[in-house]
C-alpha cells in the first residue's frame, strides 16, 4: 500500500498553503488596528469659517494635532510678498501640497487667493511654533533658534531649511476653506 507521493505531497502543500493564506489574511486586522481610528480620521480635514478674521489678522487653528496659521493679508503685505524674487530665497521651492513638488516659491505659488495665506505653523527647523508679526520680514519669528519667515511663510533668515508647508486646502466658498 504505497501512498502516491505526489498526490500526498500535493494535499499537504495545498493544505499548508490554504492555512498560510488564512493566517496572512487573519493578520491584517491586528496590523490595521494600529492605524488611525475613524474618530481621528474624522478630524483629518477641517473647515474654517473665514468671516471673523479681520484684514491684517493672523489666527492659529489646530489641524491634525499641529498649529495651522491662517492670515488675512493687507494689500501692502501682498505686494511686498510678490516683489520678492525666488533667487533671494534660501528655499526656492513652493512646498505647497496643492502643486507639483518642483514648483518655485513665487508668491502666487504660496496662495490660492492673494488675500489669504494658509500655512502649517510648524517651524521646519525643529518643530517649534513661530510667533506672528515678529521678525524683520513681517511674517513670523521662531523664538527657539531664530528662524524668520516672511508674510508668505517663506524662510528668509535663520537655521530653518524649508518654507512653512502649505497643506492641501481649497475654497468651498469665498468665506470658507477646507483644509486636509
Amino acid at each position: 500500500m504505497t501512498a502516491d507521493p505526489t498526490r500526498r505531497d500535493f494535499l499537504y502543500i495545498a493544505t499548508g498553503s490554504v492555512a498560510g493564506v488564512g493566517a496572512a489574511v487573519a493578520l491584517w486586522p491586528f496590523i490595521d488596528q494600529m492605524n488611525p481610528t475613524s474618530a481621528v480620521l474624522a478630524l483629518a480635514s477641517i473647515e474654517i469659517d473665514l468671516t471673523p478674521i479681520q484684514v491684517g489678522q493672523a489666527v492659529t487653528f489646530k489641524f491634525r494635532g499641529h498649529p495651522l496659521f491662517v492670515r488675512r493679508r493687507t494689500p501692502k503685505e501682498i505686494a511686498s510678498a510678490a516683489a520678492v524674487t525666488v533667487t533671494e530665497l534660501p528655499d526656492p521651492l513652493a512646498r505647497n501640497e496643492n502643486l507639483p513638488e518642483d514648483a518655485p516659491a513665487t508668491s502666487s505659488n504660496r496662495q490660492i487667493k492673494p488675500e489669504w495665506l494658509v500655512v502649517s505653523g510648524v517651524c521646519t527647523h525643529l518643530g517649534c511654533t513661530p510667533t506672528a508679526f515678529e521678525g524683520e520680514y513681517g511674517g513670523w519669528f521662531c523664538h527657539c533658534h531664530g528662524s524668520q519667515y516672511d508674510n508668505a511663510g517663506r524662510i528668509r533668515k535663520g537655521p530653518a531649511p524649508q518654507n512653512l508647508a502649505v497643506p492641501v486646502y481649497s475654497f468651498l466658498s469665498d468665506t470658507r476653506i477646507k483644509v486636509g
Partner: protein
C-alpha cells in the same frame, strides 16, 4: 443506566416550569421580524433613515445618543446619507463651543455658547447632566440610547414592544405610581416615559406609512444600528471566514486521514 439517569433528569426538567408570572413581571416581548436579525441580515436603509428622523424629531428631546458621531451617518453599513447630507445634518446641530479667546463658555445671559456641528462631533445631549435630565422628567433619567438595543434582554423586540405597548389597559387592581404610565413590557409595569409615539407624528419624506408601529419599527432599526454600527461588515466578513474555515477543516481532515493511513 447512564441514559436512564440523564433521561430522568431531562424528564424532570421538562415537567418542571417556572412559577406563574407575578404582578410587575414584564410581559413576553412581541415577536417581530427584523431585517438584521439573521446571520446574513443587513439594515434596511429606508428604515434607518426613517428611524433617524423619528429619533431626531421625537426621542432626542429627552434621550441623548452620545456615542454616535455624525460622520458615521454616511459611512458604510449605516443610514447611507451622502457626505454632503451628513455635513448638513451635523451643521444643523448646536454643539457646546470650546472656550473663546476670552476663555468664556457662556454668553452675557449665561447661555452656553455654541457652534455648528462638524462630522467629527457626536450627537449633543438634550440636558447638560443627569441631574438636569431628572429635574425635567419627574426624577426619572431617560437613558442614553447609543447602546440601548444591546443593553436590554431581547433588545430590538423589547424596545419595539415597549414603544407599542402603551395602548394596553392596566389590569384591574393595578394603578401606576403618580406621574408614571402603565406599560406591561416594562419591569414593574410603570414607566416614567409618557407614550412617545402617536400615529402620523413623524411625516416621512417618501410618504412611507407612519402609524405608531411603523414609527417604532423604524426607530428600533435605527437604534439597532446605533448600538451595532458594524453589523453588516461583521456578517459579510463572517460569511467569508466560515466558508474559508470549512474548506480548510475539510483539507485538514483529508490530511489527517492521509497521515494516519500508514499508521495501521
Amino acid at each position: 443506566m447512564r441514559f436512564a439517569l440523564l433521561g430522568g433528569l431531562a424528564l424532570g426538567l421538562a415537567l418542571a416550569h417556572p412559577a406563574a408570572a407575578a404582578t410587575g413581571d414584564p410581559a413576553p416581548v412581541k415577536d417581530m421580524h427584523w431585517s438584521f436579525e439573521s446571520p446574513f441580515g443587513t439594515y434596511n436603509r429606508a428604515d434607518l433613515q426613517h428611524g433617524f428622523q423619528v429619533y431626531k424629531e421625537v426621542c432626542s428631546a429627552c434621550h441623548s445618543l452620545n456615542r454616535v458621531a455624525f460622520h458615521t451617518l454616511s459611512e458604510e453599513g449605516g443610514p447611507g446619507f451622502t457626505p454632503a447630507e451628513m455635513k448638513a445634518i451635523a451643521a444643523g446641530y448646536k454643539i457646546p463651543a470650546e472656550p473663546n479667546d476670552k476663555g468664556e463658555t457662556v454668553d452675557d445671559k449665561g447661555e452656553r455658547l455654541t457652534r455648528p456641528g462638524i462630522p467629527a462631533d457626536h450627537f449633543p445631549a438634550p440636558f447638560a447632566n443627569d441631574e438636569a435630565a431628572r429635574a425635567v422628567n419627574g426624577g426619572a433619567l431617560p437613558p442614553d440610547l447609543s447602546l440601548i438595543i444591546k443593553a436590554r434582554a431581547h433588545g430590538a423586540q423589547y424596545v419595539y414592544s415597549l414603544l407599542t405597548g402603551f395602548d394596553q389597559k392596566a389590569p384591574a387592581g393595578f394603578k401606576p405610581t403618580e406621574g408614571k404610565y402603565y406599560n406591561p413590557y416594562f419591569p414593574g409595569w410603570d414607566i416614567g416615559m409618557p407614550p412617545p409615539l402617536t400615529d402620523g407624528q413623524v411625516t416621512f419624506v417618501d410618504g412611507a406609512p407612519n402609524k405608531v408601529a411603523d414609527e417604532a419599527y423604524a426607530v428600533v432599526t435605527f437604534l439597532a444600528w446605533a448600538s451595532e454600527p458594524h453589523l453588516e461588515a461583521r456578517h459579510r466578513i463572517g460569511l467569508g471566514v466560515m466558508i474559508f474555515l470549512i474548506v480548510l477543516s475539510g483539507m485538514l481532515y483529508l490530511t489527517y486521514r492521509r497521515v494516519w493511513k500508514d499508521a495501521h
